[in-house]
């Protein structure tokens, strides 16, 4: 267990050192990503104003808060892309990592985790700028901030597992873009990324409750932005834990089957 911890800390440290050398590249990427939430923010604020101040329980100020925090959560959701699997398999890196005693996913988790630390640091001035421009309504309690700080990492882990699961489709077929693109579209709609789920029709909200997507995206945002009672905050963290554990178990099962198939085929 000790070794594992040391492994993770080393991996994260490497990532931090590396990524701090490219602040410009990281910033450009983040700025490019801002366009999306700004568009959503502007459109929904306009609607809110037209509808007499609020829509779906959100005022323009609350929309601003939602979408600004969105930018950090979105960054926390960026993990190893499932499209990268074909690359891993073809280039033989997967075979190579199978020969090592540690499950390859740990390498990815630790590296990206370190990277996220850098992203968080770089994000703060960006958030300050966006707040100046869009004037969000944000009055979180201390508990909310604490839950948020934990929830973003929970989101990161959920998304990592889901992405890994998705990527493993590559063990069975190379025609993956259809599956991936459909997945991303569903995720966009059901996670709270396009709009806060309270703006969706009721049946969509009910569906989303049973899926992991919203716990990787909407929950951390709302933990900070919406007045949620403490009991519900803690329950939310519990849901995150549930989904992490569940997806990890599924992932391990699929991984075993997939690797067996992969090595049998002689990749």
């Amino acid at each position: 267990m000790r070794d594992m911890l040391r492994y993770y800390l080393t991996g994260m440290k490497i990532a931090v050192v590396e990524q701090f050398q490219y602040p410009a590249a990281n910033y450009f990427y983040m700025i490019g990503m801002i366009a999306e939430p700004v568009i959503y923010l502007v459109v929904w604020s306009t609607i809110a104003q037209a509808q007499g101040g609020a829509v779906g329980g959100y005022t323009p100020g609350q929309f601003a808060a939602y979408y600004i925090v969105w930018t950090l959560v979105r960054n926390m959701n960026i993990v190893f892309t499932p499209y990268g699997w074909e690359f891993l398999i073809r280039q033989g890196q997967l075979s190579a990592s199978l020969l090592r005693p540690l499950h390859p996913i740990h390498g990815f988790i630790s590296y990206f985790a370190g990277w996220k630390v850098v992203v968080i640091v770089l994000w703060l001035p960006l958030a300050a700028f966006l707040s100046l421009v869009f004037k969000p309504e944000l009055h979180p309690t201390l508990l909310q901030v604490a839950v948020f700080a934990v929830a973003i990492w929970g989101a990161y882990l959920i998304r990592t597992m889901l992405s890994w699961l998705l990527g493993m489709v590559s063990f069975w077929t190379t025609r993956v873009s259809a599956i991936f693109e459909l997945y991303f579209a569903l995720e966009l709609l059901l996670s709270g990324r396009l709009v806060p789920l309270s703006l969706m029709p009721l049946w969509v909200q009910q569906l989303a409750a049973y899926l992991p997507f919203k716990w990787a995206f909407q929950f951390p945002i709302e933990a900070l932005v919406s007045p949620i009672p403490p009991a519900q905050l803690v329950a939310g963290l519990g849901m995150q834990v549930f989904w992490i554990v569940f997806s990890t178990l599924v992932m391990q099962v699929v991984w075993r089957i997939g690797v067996r198939r992969f090595t049998a085929v002689g990749g």
Partner: protein, 264 residues
């Protein structure tokens, strides 16, 4: 510079580009799927907006559908012709492989602007036209000759401005090496064109008009179809397009000069 040579070369290279793409028919289906999914998401978004309101900043639902149609159409034109050429130019400048383009007996700017062509992106052009038609049908608009002409003109002018913008942006690679990140920004900014620019706060609207000419690429042609376009705006678009093209040509020439003096 704007002589027949441009069209002749464009035609030659597009033909070769089409020949290339036809070899990979599977890419057609991939593109079709991606376009459908994007359309689906867009329609969901539109539906969502209109489940909470009846109009957005004075634009009705079918009018916004028309904007979406133009957005998809223009997006197809950009990703079929402008983007692949600028991407290749960027790679060539960075790796110093621009040489073959410079030894052809044609204007180098023309060569680097037309030599790549992604046929399958035209799926978006077709899809955009279909969405547009649906929108116009819902608006019960009978398209007069002048309106149609104004639309096509606005479209071409908008496309020309986007081209000029891309060329200037890519040309900065002659001086600054790490430009590829800037290119990613365009995707994000272009997404803003999904909605008419009047929705955005003033400062953003100005940026989307004069900094990255998305307004002229999408909103203005859409205005032509929804009866909001004034002759003034169209004239202004023509003037701005001319200015941007000349500016782009100048930046390109300076960049080429720097390239020819510096590399070995």
């Amino acid at each position: 510079m704007m002589n027949m040579s441009l069209f002749r070369l464009a035609f030659i290279y597009f033909r070769v580009g089409a020949l290339n793409e036809l070899q990979y028919r599977v890419n057609f289906f991939v593109q079709l799927l991606q376009s459908f999914i994007a359309l689906g998401v867009g329609l969901v978004g539109l539906g969502l907006v209109f489940s909470h309101t009846t109009d957005l900043n004075g634009w009705s639902r079918p009018e916004l559908l028309a904007v979406m149609g133009v957005h998809i159409l223009m997006g197809g034109l950009i990703s079929a012709i402008i983007q692949p050429n600028m991407q290749r130019l960027l790679d060539d400048v960075r790796e110093g492989t621009l040489d073959y383009a410079l030894t052809k007996p044609e204007d180098a700017q023309v060569v680097v602007s037309v030599r790549e062509f992604r046929l399958w992106r035209f799926v978006d052009v077709v899809m955009g036209l279909i969405v547009l038609s649906a929108a116009l049908f819902q608006l019960q608009v009978r398209l007069g000759v002048w309106q149609a002409l104004a639309f096509v003109t606005a479209l071409l002018l908008g496309w020309a401005m986007i081209y000029a913008f891309w060329l200037m942006l890519t040309s900065t690679a002659f001086w600054f090496i790490r430009v590829d990140q800037l290119v990613n920004l365009f995707e994000g900014v272009y997404a803003a064109g999904r909605w008419p620019v009047s929705v955005y706060p003033d400062w953003l609207r100005t940026g989307l008009t004069f900094l990255v000419p998305v307004a002229f690429a999408v909103t203005v042609p859409a205005e032509a179809l929804t009866g909001r376009l004034t002759g003034q705006t169209l004239l202004g678009a023509a003037a701005l397009a001319a200015v941007l093209l000349l500016l782009a040509r100048w930046v390109w020439s300076r960049g080429l000069r720097a390239y020819s003096g510096a590399s070995a």
